[in-house]
Amino acid sequence: MFGEVSRHLLRKRATILYPFKERELVPLPKGYRGKISFNRDLCVGCTLCAKDCPSNACEITKDERGNRPVFHLDRCCFCGQCEETCPRRAITLTTEFELAAYDRSALVVR
């Protein structure tokens, strides 16, 4: 064990200074399921996304063109089921994962 331990004296550290420096070292693959982005004009108001959402984070509201979903990120479990069920590809999950906010209204995606 001593050999392995002493070899580490020369090796570069494995941990990164994430929040303050070295943000680019965070491995973020293309298909990462992060914050929801919703394209309002593609949506036809079929409310399938609200039916399939396991943590009912997707609420249906009315607006002039019919039903439109509203996504509450503080309830969402980022499973990506809405992205899959949406027939019009209006919902996509971006790779943004830093979702801390001071008040809950910031966590709503219209």
Binding site: M1, G31, Y32, R33, D52, P54, C77, F78, C79, Q81
Partner: protein, 394 residues
């Protein structure tokens, strides 16, 4: 049985296992003479919740039964619904499920190896193992979009496909994992202080393992050759050649060896699947409602056999969904291990490592049960009431 014993609660919030469980050990000096186990702190009523959700939504409920082996429960659940529908899923999807399952087994076993090192004060091993585990977590994040809750299984196949360059990255990581794990097996297993802490500790004899229906590495470390992948092959396991790892030393060391060998075995399986993965679609559209009927589905999670039972009534919600996670099957065995009997003596210092040796995941178990001290044995001069009366005294 002198009355000089007192009870040491290894409580719900305990540094040994960051899991919500309570063991009350009756201790005579340094020797543990009894264990009373109380779980249920994290019981979330998943089975009742499953009855009020659609089959699609249940996928994500099943995934959150266990934080470490989440793919085990979703694969078992997806298969269960596919059995009930009587539909076959594309071969490529089955191979992809095996790949993700084995990657999850590697990450779960490495996580356990690190925690086992931490339990016996070997923090360097903990740091190294968890650093190497990051390779596997990054691969899983690349393949499925998230480090832990993969959401890769769906009813009728898998939701993403693997591209050739992803496959190369996976192969490279598997070589690294194999190289590192063989090092750990050679160096760590030869480390005298580690050996003294795990050899001859937490004995579970073969007939006890059979009698108490132990599952997974715990029972395979006691010489019982029981592995769902070999006996009851599901997904693509009927075509994937792998040898069943089992040791018969019956102690914590043999559980370490079983898990380390299984990690190497899993790396080989992943590489085999990557090479022999047939092309074609990865999922097939299945109806949202399941005709009335029942079905049982089993898989081999990193901790042992997971069994699900589904009773469908023709609607899009299951009528009853029973889940039994592996740790529940191993709990009677851990109580057996932790009770000193005759010349086999258990000390307080052995509790964390014996407890950790079955790799308990109480978040899964809490969906189910707690077990009372096996004081039904004759070597006990106390009845249960005495313990309770005694416990209330101090």
């Amino acid at each position: 049985m002198a009355f000089s014993t007192f009870e040491v609660p290894v409580g719900p919030q305990h540094p040994a296992l960051k899991e919500p469980e309570n063991f009350t050990f009756t201790v005579d000096g340094e020797h543990v003479v009894g264990v009373k186990l109380r779980i249920g702190y994290n019981h979330r009523g998943i089975e009742k919740a499953a009855e009020s959700r659609t089959y699609i939504q249940n996928l994500y409920l099943m995934e959150r039964i266990c934080g470490i082996c989440s793919v085990a429960h979703t694969t078992t659940y997806a298969q269960n619904v596919e059995y009930a529908l009587g539909k076959e899923i594309p071969r490529r999807a089955e191979y992809y499920r095996v790949i993700i399952y084995e990657l999850n087994r590697i990450h779960s076993h490495l996580l356990w190896l690190g925690v086992a090192g931490h339990e016996i004060g070997f923090d360097t091993l903990f740091m190294y193992v968890w650093r190497d585990r990051e390779r596997v977590m990054d691969i899983l994040e690349m393949l499925t979009g998230n480090r832990v809750t993969y959401a890769i299984n769906t009813i009728g196949g898998v939701r993403r496909d693997i591209t050739p360059e992803m496959a190369d990255k996976v192969r490279k990581s598997m070589d690294l994992v194999e190289q590192r794990v063989t090092y750990y097996k050679k160096a760590a297993a030869a480390e005298p202080t580690l050996l003294t802490r795990v050899k001859g500790v937490g004995i579970l004899r073969t007939e006890d393992a059979r009698r108490l229906c132990a599952v997974g590495p715990t029972t395979r470390a006691s010489g019982v050759k029981f592995d769902v992948r070999a006996e009851d092959p599901y997904a693509a396991y009927d075509e994937v050649p792998f040898n069943l790892v089992s040791y018969d030393l019956c102690d914590v060391l043999s559980r370490i060896l079983v898990r380390v060998d299984e990690t190497l075995e899993s790396a080989r399986i992943v590489k085999y699947c990557l090479d022999h993965m047939p092309s074609g679609p990865v999922r097939v559209k299945l109806p949202r409602t399941v005709p009335p009927g029942e079905s049982v589905s089993r898989t081999e999670a990193p901790r042992g056999e997971v069994i699900h039972y589904l009773r469908a009534n023709g609607t899009d919600k299951p009528e009853r969904y029973k889940v039994r996670s592996p740790t529940l099957g191993n709990l009677p065995s851990v109580c057996e291990m932790l009770t000193s009997k005759g010349d086999y003596v258990v000390r307080i210092a052995d509790i964390p490592i014996a407890l950790a040796s079955i790799d308990p995941c109480f978040s899964c178990t809490d969906r189910a049960a707690h077990f009372v001290d096996p004081s039904r044995g004759k070597e006990w001069s106390w009845t249960f009431e005495q313990i309770r009366k005694y416990a209330r005294k101090d």
